[in-house]
């Protein structure tokens, strides 16, 4: 019955078996990676958002579009850095137990970008006096959208990691947008207001980092310590030293965020 053209892939499909390796080895030494993202150009002023729902509550917060936040010292906030390696030793101190909190605060998502591990609870709260809903548009995990009344909360967990951070929106207040980074290991960070980040307690040796920003997507190239470095699909191999690896200043051209 099977046509000849179907046979080949079918055979491969049914024929080979992959032996899964147990992850038990523990690294001897641990180190950290740190760095700071810097904006090359005049720091842009984030545009004001149009607030047309619940104006009496949301209107008084002077909400701005947080797609691109550049601090006074040119640091770029909300860049996501995570380790791509699928099998990596995890430091025993880094067992995730506490839920990660994403708050609906002042008609915006706080923080703007959250990092959560698979299996860990993401606690979505609402500290506003108005009702919100949080529409988490994950691709691999089933997308969720829950109604969260004033001072209510809901819990979301994720089965698998997401290759791209997932947007969180509120359908009642269309200007609200946040992001959830879902990984299956604890090695990820989001840059703060000053553009700096640190990922701690990584196993020493080579790891592959990946960089993402909501407006630029996966970063393609950057200038690291004065040298233009191409990071295809946002990926870069980094050697983790036992006494810490500092990537220094990573400069991104303004055109990246166009």
């Amino acid at each position: 019955m099977v046509q000849p053209s179907l046979r080949r892939p079918l055979l491969t499909l049914l024929g080979s078996v992959l032996v899964a390796l147990p992850v038990c080895a523990q690294a001897a030494e641990w180190g950290s990676i740190s760095g700071r993202f810097v904006y090359d150009g005049d720091a842009p002023t984030p545009p004001k958002l149009t607030v047309d729902k619940d104006v009496d509550v949301c209107g008084k917060h002077n909400l701005v579009n947080e797609e691109l936040i550049v601090g006074e010292d040119k640091g770029i906030a909300n860049i996501v850095i995570f380790v791509r390696d699928r099998k990596i030793d995890v430091h025993p101190d880094l067992k995730a137990t506490e839920p990660v909190v994403l708050d609906n605060l002042n008609c915006r998502f706080a923080p703007h970008v959250v990092f959560v591990q698979t299996g860990q609870d993401l606690l979505i709260k609402n500290s506003d006096p108005v009702g919100h809903n949080s529409n988490v548009a994950t691709l691999k995990n089933p997308a969720s959208n829950t109604l969260i009344p004033a001072s209510g909360e809901t819990k979301v967990t994720f089965r698998s990691d997401e290759a791209v951070p997932a947007a969180v929106t509120c359908n009642i207040h269309p200007w609200m947008k946040g992001w959830v980074v879902v990984r299956d290991n604890p090695y990820a960070a989001v840059t703060g207001e000053d553009g700096s980040f640190t990922i701690e307690k990584l196993p020493a040796g080579e790891v592959e980092l990946q960089f993402w920003h909501e407006k630029a997507g996966y970063l393609d190239s950057m200038v690291i310590n004065g040298k233009k470095t191409s990071v295809k699909r946002g990926r870069m191999d980094v050697e983790v030293e036992a006494d810490g690896t500092d990537l220094g200043e990573m400069v991104l051209d303004a055109s990246v965020f166009k």
Partner: protein
């Protein structure tokens, strides 16, 4: 008759014309276009998800690999294949698949193409020939999102849920009822919809997976059983199977007076906790939120916005090779946006005063809608936020809305309410 047959006739005609011959020729001429039409129909093919392909910047050989894998896993529109992991019934699929024809015992085959593909497309991508004329657009099964079901928002619908949709149709949209086809045919069609949906989701995960490949994979997906079954097929198939046992439990309606329940429902509707009013509007006419999109349209909308900004990106930093690659991608993407996607349209919150409920009008259906929200649509899930009793009050209030006149509730209705229907 028509031009081609007239020419054909002339060529066959002997120079001395007997009347009989000319008549016979006339008959043959009439039949010729029909006979010719039968022999030349090309085999139906599944259309690749070009929007995702363009988004993921797939190369032609990668598109080819996805097509080959999918054909091995799912077969073709005329000859479906199912792996046991899908839990699908090939006998049912055969009834629904293929061109419209009667088999040896006179049973009608090709049901999907007879009844569904006109709107939903042979691929189930919601882009059949009539799709562009309809509002809302016909459902695209490929992302695996279904709106009207008895399971939680993120879950798949049960088989019975889809049967209900086919039986009742979706009043308020262009989806008609297929109940009179009979149980066997409806059952086969539902199986085929599930098949197309699984295939579509598998295609999406395959296409998205290229991004996650390591450099040493050289842009090729592994064609191992472990990868294709465990990583791609099972995560999709299992969720369809899990849905069968995941029907939402509905507690009984609280025993309070209906008028009282409606009053409480009204309070919730307008209150800050359920917040229905924000989208469905102060008048409940569905005019509270006019510029939101459903998830299917959002995909196209967001991607066309990305494409727009890609068009504006300066190419001065690129090497000439990168630049020509970028331009080729832009050209392809523009083609895809014009030819493989329908213009995104906003979604309107339901007008609750029409007594038209797309996902069913039973109190039970409305309970499911509020409890689980509507997958793919902006409607959020209220489960956990609202108690079952509160949901029931809202159900009762909503059911009273088409008949509410001048703020008065009760049995005495006026012509205004009647004319609205």
């Amino acid at each position: 008759m028509n031009l081609p047959s007239a020419t054909a006739c002339k060529n066959n005609q002997p120079t001395t014309t007997a009347p009989r011959l000319s008549l016979a020729c006339l008959g043959v001429c009439c039949l010729l276009p029909i006979l010719a039409g039968c022999g030349q129909t090309p085999a139906a093919t599944f259309r690749p998800n070009m929007v995702e392909s363009a988004k993921q910047r797939l190369q032609p050989e990668q598109e080819q690999q996805v097509a080959t894998i999918l054909e091995a896993m799912f077969g073709t529109p005329d000859n479906p294949v199912v792996l046991p992991e899908t839990g699908l019934d090939i006998a049912k699929l055969r009834l629904a698949a293929g061109p419209v024809h009667s088999d040896i015992v006179g049973r009608k085959n090709g049901l999907f193409r007879e009844h569904c593909s006109h709107c939903h497309g042979v691929t189930g991508d919601g882009m059949g020939p009539t799709a562009a004329f309809l509002n809302p657009y016909p459902r695209d099964y490929r992302p695996g999102w279904f709106k009207f079901k008895s399971t939680e928002r993120a879950d798949k619908p049960t088989h019975a849920d889809l049967v209900t949709i086919l039986n009742n149709g979706i009043y308020g949209t262009s989806m008609p009822s297929f109940e009179l086809l009979g149980e066997t045919k409806v059952d086969a069609l539902v199986e085929y919809v599930k098949y197309l949906s699984m295939r579509g989701e598998a295609e999406l995960s395959l296409m998205r997976y290229y991004f996650e490949l390591d450099d040493e994979d050289e842009g090729k997906l592994p064609e191992t059983r472990d990868f294709l079954i465990e990583e791609i097929l099972l995560p999709v198939a299992e969720r369809w199977q899990e849905a069968e046992d995941a029907v939402i439990e509905v507690p009984e309606m609280p025993e309070v007076d209906l008028t009282e329940s409606i009053a409480m429902g009204k309070e919730l509707f307008y209150g800050n906790k359920a917040n229905c009013v924000k989208c469905h509007g102060v008048t409940a006419l569905g005019d509270g939120q006019a510029n939101d999109y459903d998830d299917w349209n959002k995909v196209v909308k967001q991607w066309s916005a990305e494409l727009q900004s890609a068009h504006e990106t300066s190419t001065s930093d690129m090497t000439s090779e990168e630049r020509s690659e970028h331009r080729a991608w832009l050209a392809k993407s523009d083609r895809v946006l014009a030819g493989d996607a329908l213009d995104p349209r906003t979604i309107q919150p339901r007008n609750l005063r029409q007594a038209i409920y797309r996902g069913g009008r039973r109190p039970l259906d409305l309970y499911y809608r509020i409890h689980a929200g509507i997958n793919g649509a902006p409607m959020p899930a209220a489960a956990g936020t609202l108690s079952p009793d509160e949901i029931w009050h809202i159900v009762n209030y909503i059911r009273s809305l088409p008949y509410e006149f001048d703020g008065e509730l009760g049995a005495d209705r006026s012509m205004v309410a009647r004319d609205r229907l």
